[in-house]
């Protein structure tokens, strides 16, 4: 591989993540000293502070919430005295049974596959950075980029529950209520978005700049 010039941080330059202005890092920069971007006022850090620890914490929290999000019902349909609770998976199964397989596939991907895949990718990136991997940094950065872009689409199930709750309240005839599973699921989506935001992809590249032993 062609050797790249040293990163900005190695040349004592800090890039503002909000406006991309480069600032000179003071010689005695420590974590307690808050340095602000002279142009936009954002707090400057050479790397996102405590990125690995914070991302780990969020990823673990999301894994824990992922279980009740999938096991507990996300909504209850009451129709003519009959009550039926739906989890995410039973909702997918219902769509499959009624021949709506494109929709079943969509919900399955957005609600089950995407959050899990996102967590697995973040765990992989965290471990690869901690093991000082030099393996395919460009592809790992691309994985991060995908994780960051795709997470929002998991919200679709939350919105479906919201719309169904608002539309279907006809008293005894038919009523839909949101259930706790939806709360946990919403928490998973929000926590994974924060996890992707706290992970610093520049750490992937820092490992390549440290000299070979």
């Amino acid at each position: 591989m062609k050797p790249w010039p040293p990163s900005a941080a190695r040349q004592s330059l800090i890039s503002c993540l909000s406006c991309e202005l480069l600032s000179k890092a003071p010689a005695n920069l420590d974590d307690h000293l808050r340095m602000r971007c002279p142009r936009c006022g954002a707090t400057l850090h050479a790397r996102k502070p405590n990125s690995l620890a914070r991302t780990w914490a969020l990823v673990i929290a999301a894994f824990i919430f992922y279980i009740p999000a999938n096991v507990l019902p996300i909504m209850t349909v009451t129709s003519l005295g009959k009550t039926q609770s739906d989890t995410i998976m039973s909702g997918v199964a219902y769509l499959l049974l009624h021949g709506m397989w494109p929709l079943a596939l969509l919900i399955f991907f957005a609600s089950v596959v995407v959050p899990l895949l996102k967590l697995v990718i973040l765990v992989y990136l965290l471990i690869s950075v901690q093991l000082r991997s030099r393996w395919r940094p460009r592809d790992r950065t691309r994985l991060y980029r995908i994780t960051e872009a795709v997470g929002r689409w998991s919200m679709v199930d939350i919105y479906v529950v919201t719309i169904l709750v608002a539309l279907v309240h006809l008293g005894n005839l038919a009523t839909i209520r949101a259930e706790v599973g939806a709360v946990f699921f919403g928490a998973v989506v929000v926590i994974t978005i924060f996890a992707a935001l706290t992970f610093d992809p520049r750490l992937i590249w820092d490992r390549l700049e440290q000299p070979h032993e």
Binding site: C40, Y159, V161, V165, A166
Partner: protein, 202 residues
């Protein structure tokens, strides 16, 4: 003018000379492939026009019902806000807050701030607190989820179609247009262009 010609890639921190791409083109980081700068044609005018259209469509999308549900002669109509208040009444205040933030508050704030920035710039003046507002806009980006909500509407319609009659309302069309207008406004905005107009605090 080193601060304008040199930048560090926000994804791999490679220090590099930023070559201005041709209009409509983009500059990528040679090391990690991140998009560093997309140059837009007529950025200011287009973003301004699209944001204005977006705000009007947003008002329509909120003011009118987007779906009506009819079952055995009973009809319920839904506005954007109905879902939020129903969730709140069912004790799901966390979910209600999440939906309220991502589909109403964040898009409304984004559109308003865009106009707050772009209208004065159009007339050659820099608005007050431009830097802070730009920073806020940057931080809000992940939390506006109108396009995901639109997908949610489509899924709900298909789910309920077998159960009852679904009547699309005026707001639904406004909604459909709004998604494209918001995407086009985000694509037309050239933050570099605006950052260059920010005066340094010190």
């Amino acid at each position: 003018m080193t601060e304008q010609t040199f930048i560090a890639c926000h994804e791999c921190d490679l220090l590099q000379h930023l070559k201005s791409p041709p209009p409509g083109g983009s500059a990528r980081c040679p090391r990690c492939g991140a998009v560093l700068h997309r140059s837009k044609r007529d950025s200011l005018n287009r973003t301004l026009a699209l944001s204005l259209a977006g705000l009007i469509l947003f008002a329509v999308a909120n003011a009118f019902p987007f779906l009506a549900f009819e079952m055995q002669g009973q009809v319920t109509q839904t506005r954007l806000f109905t879902g939020v208040s129903d969730l709140y009444q069912q004790g799901m205040w966390g979910l209600a807050a999440l939906v309220l933030l991502t589909t109403i508050i964040v898009p409304a704030v984004q559109l308003t701030l865009m106009l707050y920035i772009l209208v004065p710039l159009k007339f050659g003046r820099a608005p007050q607190h431009l830097a802070g507002v730009l920073r806020l806009l940057h931080n809000l980006t992940p939390w506006g989820m109108m396009e995901v909500f639109m997908l949610g509407i489509l899924v709900s319609v298909v789910k309920l179609a077998g159960m009852a009659t679904i009547v699309p309302g005026l707001a639904l069309w406004a909604f459909g247009l709004l998604i494209f207008v918001l995407a086009a406004a985000a694509a037309a905005l050239d933050p570099h262009l605006i950052w260059e107009k920010v005066r340094y605090a010190s």
